[in-house]
Structure formats: C-alpha cells, structure tokens
C-alpha cells in the first residue's frame, strides 16, 4: 500500500497542476480541497520542492507551483520519493538495488525471477505515466459519463 504521504503528495500535485501555473497555490487551499492535514501537507510539499518537482514563493501571497511540466512528473518518481523502492525485493530494484543477505546464487533465484517480472510490470506503468496522465484520465472519465447521460449526443450538429 502507498503511504499517506505518497497519496497526499500525488493529490496535492494533481490539485496544483489544475490551477493557473502563474499563481502561487496556498498550502491551506490544497489542505482544504483535498482534506489533508495542513501541517502534514507542509512537510510533504517541502519534500516535493526539495526534489525539484515544485517551486515556491515565500511571504504573503506566496505558495507553490510546478517547477517542471506535468507531463514530466512521473508517478513513479513521486512514489519513490515518499515510499522508496517500487520493487518488492531489494534484489530486483533498479533504483535501490541491494543483494539479499543470504542469497547464494542470485542468478538462479526463482523468487528473484518472478518478482523481477512484477517490478517490470509496475515500473513500466509508474515510470511511463505522469501527472498529466492523471488529469487526462480524469477528464476522459468525466466526459464518458456525461456522454452516456445525455441522449445520443454521438454526432454534433454541423
């Protein structure tokens, strides 16, 4: 399971990505909108800033904005920042590789073989999809519903 930090972090980023990129977004606004404890959120946004995903403006009317475009903020990066490795075993992690203490023959380990497949499957999703994809999918989901609610809006009038 994701930690609250990772989940809150993703939701906060999503919220920021939806706002005007020129206007600083207040912690308290995010806190309110996404039901994230304000003080907790502060530390999370700070982490995101230190990682180079967000930039901040201090003082009155300050707040946060994305430092890099939403399409370049991968989900994997955010998950790793807060929760560490995506892999389920250290020996199959790309970014945090460590051999298992007592593994005699890593090359022959059936477990490694299987969990490497799992890591590949999840990594290929999380490192490919970005903040932007969250937004795109959300729009797609909403559109889909509004379409199926309306009566046959298939072809727009000329």
């Amino acid at each position: 399971m994701l930690s609250k930090k990772a989940k809150y972090g993703l939701k906060a980023l999503e919220y920021i990505a939806k706002q005007d990129p020129k206007t600083p977004v207040h912690t308290s606004a995010i806190s309110l909108a996404e039901s994230i404890p304000r003080k907790f959120l502060e530390t999370i946004l700070l982490d995101l800033k230190h990682d180079g995903i967000l930039k901040s403006k201090q003082g009155k009317n300050g707040g946060y904005n994305l430092l890099i475009p939403p399409s370049e903020v991968t989900i994997g990066r955010v998950v790793r920042l807060f929760d560490g490795p995506i892999a389920l075993l250290p020996c199959v992690s790309s970014n945090y590789y460590e051999p298992c203490e007592d593994c005699e023959n890593e090359a022959f380990c059936g477990l490694k073989n299987i969990f490497s497949e799992v890591r590949e499957a999840t990594g290929s999703i999380l490192d490919k999809l970005s903040l932007n994809d969250i937004l795109i999918r959300e729009r797609a989901l909403k559109k889909k519903t509004s379409n199926s609610t309306k009566a046959k809006p298939r072809s727009p009038k000329k």
Copy 2:
C-alpha cells in the same frame, strides 16, 4: 517491499516443495538451509498451516508438508497472507476493498484509474504464478547456465 515474513514464507514453502512430500520437514532444517531465525520461522509456518497451505505432524519426527499441490499455491496468496493487499490503494483492491475516506467521486478519480492498472498488472502475475512456477524457473535458469557452459551440447547423441 515484501516483509521478511512474506519472503521467509515463500522461501520456506519453496524448500518444503523440493523435499519428499511424504516425509515431514523440520522447522530447524528449513531454518538452517534458508538462514531464517528458527523461532520466527515457527510462527510463519504456523500461519501457513492455519491458512491451509501446509499440514503438520506433531511430536517426534514431526514437521511440515504441503497440504495442497505446489501448482495451487499462488504467490499472491502467500503475499496477501503476510502483507495484506497487493493493491497500492485500498479502493483498487479486489480482496480488501475500501473506499478512500474523502474521495467524492471514486468513478472519476484519475489516481484510482492508474493504480487500478498497476494492481491489475501485479495481480495478474502474482495470482497466476505458483510455488511450482518458482521451481520450474529455478530449474530453467540452472539448465540454461549449464548449457552455455558446456561446449555446444545442443543435440544429444543418438
């Protein structure tokens, strides 16, 4: 990351699966072979027994054996037993589903959409592969190496 329990559990099961299914396997033998603390292993094997994966024989010359064939012990089942849900968000878990506390519109959640894809990818591997597949892959890996070590053993003599 997997917990030690899950990892130890899988390794223990693998060890047991490799032994004669008629002869009870001692905790101490597994502990020694796989470098798992004996007392810790005891509780793990007990869990596996209570879950119906292992059966035990008490008393002298007692020990553990598989209750069901290796091909029916999925990795997913063992992981879930020790570590809970495979999903990264409660709202995308098949076996432990829970709505997110403050999620207003689960149907429109971009995060859910993406992590449901992740859950599907990992679940489809972990619930399809079994203890038997670990053994099969291990054998395949060893064979591959021994082949490439030998000089062209491609076609056996008639």
